[in-house]
């Protein structure tokens, strides 16, 4: 139990990472209205002046907005602390419950999904762990640190269910991401 709970000890450091992560995850906001103004000419410089077009007829918000740095709710940080305490005292299912509660509050936070995956792996449920880490990945675009971590976890999970080749692939992904 002691050795399996070890990854959880990293939680405080990750809680910090999580605070940073909130500011770096790029988010794409898809089209908000019928036709979108092609941004080329306004930005570009290559089109000759006489070819410049009048402003687009439909006024809609741009498809991409700069990521909003949203403050991490202290509630989520508190639940991560609780989960860590529970995991260190060997109560992994309680830790999972705390993490699920945190996910209820902040469902798109990849760090929380990653920790839930870690707990499941510690409990020996490598299938669930792999899926949860993949879920974390799907929410962690642009956050290569988190992605690399997820792939490392996926590698361990795959190894745990005797998928050596899959594990090697995952490790490769993790290395590529860390090297970037």
């Amino acid at each position: 139990m002691r050795s399996t709970a070890l990854p959880i000890l990293l939680l405080p450091a990750l809680a910090l990472a999580l605070l940073v992560q909130g500011c770096t995850t790029p988010t794409y906001y898809p089209p908000r209205g019928g036709r979108l103004p092609p941004p080329v000419i306004e930005q570009g410089s290559q089109a000759p002046a006489d070819q410049r077009l009048p402003p687009p007829s439909v006024s809609v918000p741009p498809p991409v907005t700069a990521p909003v740095a949203r403050p991490q709710p202290p509630a989520v940080v508190a639940l991560l602390d609780t989960a860590e305490r529970q995991a260190n005292s060997g109560d992994l299912e309680a830790a999972a419950a705390s993490l699920e509660r945190a996910i209820r509050i902040d469902p798109r936070n990849p760090v929380l999904w990653y920790h839930l995956a870690t707990v499941r792996l510690s409990q020996g449920d490598s299938q669930a762990a792999e899926q949860l880490a993949a879920k974390s990945n799907s929410l962690a675009s642009g956050n290569t640190v988190q992605q690399a971590r997820n792939w490392q976890l996926i590698a361990r999970a795959r190894r745990a269910h005797q998928d050596e080749r899959g594990a090697a692939t995952a490790e490769q992904r993790a290395r590529e991401l860390s090297g970037r």
Partner: protein
């Protein structure tokens, strides 16, 4: 008959005359029998008293309301939650279960509660609101910030055993002393002295009854009353009286006074609620006053004690004067025995009865949702465990969402009927609301009347889904990026399909028009039948079926071409499962109504964990959800924005079946997914399409939520390009109708549309696009 009688009379006589000392033997036999009988009673008493004494119904709780700074919550929502929990609004908060409000600042003293993950202590909270959010959460006395707190959960129902007895178990040390004092003072003053029966009390009662010329006083001790309730029927025979006395004595031999008193407090019959009997003071407190025993005042204890004598005779709703007189009598006795002071008694006598509103209390508030909970429990528990083991079941129900759903569904159906000049009550509806990432069922409506516990349409109404199925066809296509992209033009011209058996199929569009070549995303957005059918036939119906299987559709599917246009019957719950996968980034999530189950002693029994598994690759999921966004922005779902703010992205799909029999809408924001069905039970046409019926209900519902819009996370392997929809080719600023569409890397068209004028500007566009988020 006539022949037997004489024989019977003769035989005893004959026996008696022949045997010596018959009376001695008889006496011996009688003594032996009596001894045996007492032993038998003793076995009964000990077996029942020591073993499981009561079958306790399972209690079903809504999700507890978490409270934290930054949370989206309005003061009104908090008040609604507190009211559902029967917290009392007061000027100054003194005890648990009370709150005060000063505009946007609340003081709440929460009740302690045992959850799956441990005890939540009672807390004295100060909650401040600002702009529809909790701005501060603090400990009231110290003022220090609290990161997270939660209220006790709203009890939303119980699963009763067949005999319909209900109680909330009490432990003696948790019962207020004033209650037990009053009870003993009124019912059995000698309780701590006697050995189960009190002959003197019986004589006293007899004397009082003779004087009064009728039964005015009972001589039964609490022990006898307990025995009567516990082991015996209510018939009034001498034998029963004898049994009662013997068993009372036996009980006292085996058990302590405290054990007997505790059992009494939990057993005594205190009210009738329809077919359900209310037993014990624990539940009676909720039944009469809507709050736990510990929060009652002395006059309320006195009323409860007074009711022991005759719950229907002293029924405080039907006979308030009798109840008041009885309560005041109890108060007088308490004052006389100095259990309360004279001033306290005077004050208590002037109090109102204080009982809650009349009516049946604990009928299950949300029958459709409870139906789902019960079905999910039945996969793990036997029926008798559910109704008798006193389980605490923690669910995902969000009462705020549920209340709103019930309100908007019945209101909108009324309006639709009015608009259609339809006979009232013909139109039915059902809906499911879940959380997008966790797959938790937040609310469910099984029909128009939310209190009707019958046919649960959300789970059991299997209706044709029509165009709701189309995303599965398009997803199947988009999973082959070398063949299909969102920009691929597909043919919406007339289609005649001849099956191998010679059957001819000629699908038509809803607007009876053909639309020529349309880009794939628009064909879905406008829900064109012909292009969808052509696409599906090119892909193969069996391929589409495989996709549906991955999306969690389990029932038998016939590989006919009509399947492509939704000739498949599904329940709203199944549709929810399918759309859940789209909404949560391609990860299927089993829809959960239960999070955890506790045993009656509050030890954790089982948890229902959050599980996900990848069902759709992130790339294709990104594409299909983009198309679903266009459904609501430009297609059949546009009416959403008549009520929702224009900057809130919603992805969804309408569904309409032949002759307007079924009206569907499935849609999601960044936080919640909702699926609504509107139709008639007799499957007659309603005159409603997906967007004129179900969509309206969805819109009414979601207009009340402050959800974040659906956001796409830009993932690896996806790139965006400007596209000219008329040709499906690359666009630039020369193309006024250009749209920016996502492509699986390498699958975007490489040719430029005719409208493109400044060749070579596109790479910059892409760079500009990328810069914004890196």
């Amino acid at each position: 008959m006539t022949r037997r009688r004489p024989r019977r009379r003769k035989s005893p006589r004959r026996k008696r005359s022949h045997k010596p000392f018959p009376w001695l033997k008889l006496l011996l036999v009688l003594l032996l029998m009596l001894g045996g009988y007492i032993v038998w009673l003793d076995i009964q008493v000990t077996a029942q008293f020591t073993g499981k004494r009561w079958s306790l119904p399972a209690r079903v709780y809504a999700r507890p309301l978490d409270l934290y700074a930054g949370q989206e919550l309005t003061p009104e929502q908090l008040v609604a939650e507190l009211e559902a929990l029967h917290y009392r609004p007061v000027r100054s908060v003194q005890q648990a279960g009370q709150y005060s409000r000063n505009r946007e600042v609340f003081h709440v003293m929460t009740r302690p509660f045992t959850f799956w993950d441990g005890e939540e202590p009672a807390r004295n909270l100060r909650i401040s609101f600002s702009g529809g959010r909790v701005s501060q959460l603090a400990e009231r006395t110290s003022g220090s910030a609290i990161a997270l707190a939660r209220l006790d959960p709203v009890l939303v129902g119980s699963f009763y055993p067949a005999h319909n007895e209900d109680r909330v178990l009490l432990q003696l040390d948790k019962v207020p002393v004033s209650l037990t004092d009053a009870l003993i003072a009124i019912e059995d003053r000698g309780f701590y002295q006697h050995h189960g029966i009190a002959p003197l009390a019986i004589l006293r009662a007899l004397w009082a009854n003779i004087r009064a010329g009728g039964v005015v006083q009972g001589g039964s001790t609490l022990t006898q009353q307990l025995v009567k309730n516990f082991f015996l029927t209510s018939e009034r025979t001498l034998l029963r009286k004898v049994n009662e006395a013997i068993m009372a004595l036996l009980l006292e031999i085996h058990y302590s006074k405290d054990e007997i008193l505790e059992a009494y407090l939990n057993e005594v019959y205190l009210a009738q609620d329809g077919s359900r009997s209310i037993n014990g003071f624990g539940l009676a407190s909720y039944f009469y006053f809507e709050r736990p025993l510990s929060e009652l005042s002395v006059d309320q204890y006195a009323l409860l004690v007074g009711l022991v004598k005759g719950p229907s005779y002293y029924n405080p709703w039907k006979h308030p004067e009798r109840a008041r007189a009885r309560r005041n009598l109890v108060l007088d006795v308490m004052a006389r025995l100095a259990l309360i002071s004279e001033e306290e008694a005077v004050r208590a006598r002037t109090q109102q009865l204080g009982v809650g509103p009349v009516g049946r209390k604990a009928i299950n508030t949300f029958p459709a949702f409870l139906d789902l909970v019960r079905r999910q429990l039945q996969t793990d528990y036997r029926d008798e465990d559910i109704t008798s083991e006193g389980l605490s079941i923690f669910t995902t129900l969000n009462p705020q969402v549920q209340w709103r759903l019930e309100r908007v569904l019945s209101k909108r159906l009324d309006e639709l009927e009015n608009g259609l000049r339809m006979e009232r009550g013909k139109l039915e509806g059902a809906a499911v609301v879940t959380s997008v990432q966790g797959g938790e069922v937040l609310a469910m409506a099984g029909g128009r009347d939310p209190k009707f516990a019958g046919f649960n349409r959300a789970l059991d109404a299997y209706r044709q889904v029509g165009s709701l199925l189309k995303p599965a066809v398009y997803l199947t296509a988009l999973e082959q990026p070398q063949r299909y992209t969102l920009a691929t033009l597909i043919d919406d011209g007339p289609l005649t399909y001849t099956a191998r058996n010679g059957d001819v199929w000629e699908p038509g569009n809803y607007d009876r028009q053909n639309h020529g070549n349309v880009p794939l995303y628009q064909a879905l957005a406008h829900s064109y039948n012909i292009s969808t059918a052509r696409l599906g036939l090119a892909l193969g119906v069996d391929k589409v079926i495989l996709t549906l299987r991955r999306l969690g559709v389990e029932q038998k599917l016939n590989p006919y071409p009509s399947l492509l246009l939704g000739a498949v019957e599904m329940s709203p719950f199944q549709v929810t499962r399918m759309y859940q996968t789209f909404a949560s980034g391609g990860f299927a999530t089993p829809l959960r109504a239960i999070t955890a189950v506790l045993a009656s002693d509050k030890t954790p029994l089982q948890r229902y964990p959050l599980k996900v598994y990848a069902a759709i690759e992130p790339g294709p999921d990104h594409l299909i959800t983009t198309a679903l966004l266009y459904v609501v922005r430009e297609g059949t779902g546009q009416a959403i924005y008549q009520a929702l703010p224009a900057d809130r992205n919603v992805a969804g799909k309408t569904g309409t079946t032949d002759d307007l029999r079924d009206s569907w809408f499935a849609g999601f924001t960044g936080d919640r997914l909702g699926v609504v069905w509107v139709g008639r039970d007799d499957n007659q046409p309603t005159g409603l399409s997906g967007s004129t019926g179900a969509l309206r209900v969805w819109r009414d519902l979601f207009a009340g939520f402050n959800d974040s819009g659906w956001t796409q996370t830009l993932i690896d392997g996806i790139e965006y390009q400007w596209i000219d929809p008329a040709t499906g080719l690359l666009a630039d600023a020369g193309c006024l109708d250009a749209v920016q569409l996502p492509f699986i890397t390498g699958s975007a068209p490489t040719e430029y549309a005719p409208c493109v004028r400044g060749i070579g500007t596109l790479p910059e566009a892409v760079d500009w696009f990328k810069e914004l988020f890196q």
